[in-house]
Symmetry: C2
Subunit: 395 residues, 2 copies
């Protein structure tokens, strides 16, 4: 009897403690991939792609006024899967799950958050990705587009998103938020369609892909072109250039990181026990073997031509087509979230972007990330700026 009372008291105490805990942010839970289709789309360059299909997903509820929508634009090797899981058994949620959800920085209790796959999305072989690019069938021929697929630009990505947003009856986005290539899309949205964007949050990105980064993107792509299986982009139905693609993705993986990451994750550990890297050319350090394995794993979901088309879209990017003018056209308040250790969008270039947007009085804030992951802080260290992002969005 006493024992039973004690148990009752314990249960009661736990219940009371739960009530006294501060409100804990929730999860968006299970999300569903949807498909948006345009029967025909004409690129900025004047070529027609028919149809265009892209995947998208959403978290939270669109209000009656349809004025609470936030668009998330994804990074080079990313997909629209920004938060939640497709099934409880998924090993991990979407990439920005730490900042998207009920009560989180991007609060799905307030906002309707939508996220779409871009044109020429890299991860064609991810069953949850829906995109249109060289690897997808061209109904006009019944075969994959291959090298005939038109060059597409960041503006084309934005234009397809605009059609998606308008199809939902949304006339103005509360905000556009994206990391890396997603930051380029966010800036392009705000420059091209200033009346449709209420706030802009470019994370680990800048107002242009500058000449140096044009060179780097070409360096990323080089192993694909070196792979004899690439064959000028004509490899569908044949052996794809997987070795070249894996080497390209390995370089991207490394370039997006920083030395503190390498120190912590690897140090000078050897790839194989008993095989001292000093003893033979073929004995390697763990960081080398791991980067190879990561490149190979990422290549399984990816397509080499889509990689090259993404490189081209990025190389062509200058916000609004002309840096100073394009950034001047932005009217929405801007919160830039760069990483101080970014080797891709270098800090000086982000500062220059801020100056140019500010030039005509548009308010710009900068919230620097300081994690161990370099460029990738924009994915892994976002909790550092969660409060500031939340305040910016709810102001």
């Amino acid at each position: 009897m006493v024992r039973q009372l004690r148990l009752h008291l314990l249960v009661l105490s736990v219940a009371l403690l739960a009530l006294l805990r501060p409100a804990v942010a929730g999860e968006v839970g299970i999300v569903e991939k949807k498909v948006f289709e345009l029967p025909s789309y004409t690129t900025v360059g004047g070529r027609t792609i028919a149809p265009v299909r892209v995947g998208w997903e959403s978290y939270g509820t669109l209000n009656a006024a349809k004025d609470n929508a936030i668009l998330i634009t994804h990074f080079f090797s990313g997909t629209s899967h920004a938060a939640g899981k497709y099934a409880e058994s998924d090993p991990a949620p979407g990439y920005w799950n730490a900042i998207i959800g009920p009560g989180k920085a991007i609060d799905t209790d307030r906002f309707f958050v939508l996220s779409s796959d871009t044109l020429v999305n890299l991860n064609v072989h991810d069953p949850k990705v829906v995109t249109t690019g060289p690897a997808t069938p061209n109904p006009a021929t019944g075969k994959p587009w291959g090298p005939d697929f038109p060059v597409v630009t960041i503006r084309d990505f934005v234009n397809v998103q605009k059609a998606l947003v308008e199809s939902l009856g949304i006339r103005k986005l509360h905000a556009v938020i994206g990391a890396s290539m997603g930051a380029l899309q966010a800036l392009e949205w705000a420059s091209a369609y200033p009346d449709m964007v209420g706030r802009v949050v470019p994370v680990i990105g800048a107002g242009e892909v500058d000449p140096f980064l044009i060179g780097w993107l070409d360096a990323w792509a080089t192993p694909i072109r070196l792979d004899p299986n690439w064959n000028g982009g004509d490899y569908y139905g044949k052996t794809p250039p997987t070795a070249g693609l894996a080497a390209a993705l390995k370089l991207v993986t490394l370039h997006a990181r920083w030395y503190e990451w390498a120190d912590k994750a690897f140090g000078r550990a050897w790839a194989e026990e008993g095989k001292d890297p000093a003893a033979a050319l073929g004995h390697r350090f763990k960081i080398e073997a791991t980067l190879d394995a990561v490149g190979q794993a990422r290549a399984k979901a990816a397509d080499a031509n889509h990689f090259l088309w993404l490189v081209k879209a990025n190389q062509l990017f200058v916000a609004g087509g002309s840096l100073a003018e394009g950034l001047k056209r932005i009217e929405a308040p801007v919160l830039l979230i760069p990483s101080k250790d970014d080797l891709i969008f270098l800090p000086g270039r982000v500062e220059r972007t801020a100056e140019l947007i500010r030039a005509d009085g548009t308010p710009v804030e900068i919230a620097w990330l300081d994690g161990v992951d370099g460029h990738l802080d924009g994915i892994t260290a976002m909790s550092q700026v969660a409060d500031r992002l939340k305040a910016f969005l709810e102001r």
Copy 2:
């Protein structure tokens, strides 16, 4: 007659003006490549290379006391040709000609400056380079060493230089000065043989090749391993892996630069007139085409295996074998000359090197370079620190 007088006056004026000019630093003039040979050398790893031959050159005169010698150690893709010309018709002098010569920062009126090719020097096909590595004949077999060549380390480079220096009767070097991989050699000299080094000047280098840079060096090497002609390093007498080597050298070239260089040298210029990069996947920017051409040009003088052996030597580098202990063993005053825009030896790593050398009271100065070339400021912007370097050497 009047005309002739005028001519005389003109000649006289020019002569007087020449006398009134401030003293201008001179040139080292024509230099000669010499060869140093060791009948046999045993590596740190216990393997024997017989013989070892390396090229070297010198500027200035060794004094009777043999205490005015400065050793210059070269960078990854460099050679011993640090100053002067081999013939008047050479298109350019050695890489540090701006700071080596009579009256210059490294004053050949005072110092005997010597510079040697390393083991496994990259530029095997440069007729002025003398080195020993996988591409050079192994007298034991009458064929190039190929993949049987032993792993060599920065300490091995230093040990061969030590034998050269001792062969000249030099017991202590006034200073060891080197850029990039040359900085690693300079630090290794000062840590391994503290009694033999009077001053150390590591330019654009740090106390170790850290895990992140181990990964980058592997990324540089990746295109060579991807090239089917590499064939595990067994390609002598067959088609060499030139495409892979050119891609590797392209990546090195880019990694060693900075965005201001790309802005100035290329901007968004197209590779070919009339071929807008936005119009077709194959239309490129000038920076892309130029980097390809530079990689191909550099590959002509280079050997792919030597590149891989150099990568290994660099990856294994930790000053004195253990960072804190190795740097502590340095007793000579140190002048570090890093670039603030260095993407290879990142500023934080140079600062850490300075802290560790200073830990036991060894004096360390830092003279930051601030040019447009990133890592390569250590070659192109050295005149910024010439006075400071001169004062450090003459103190």
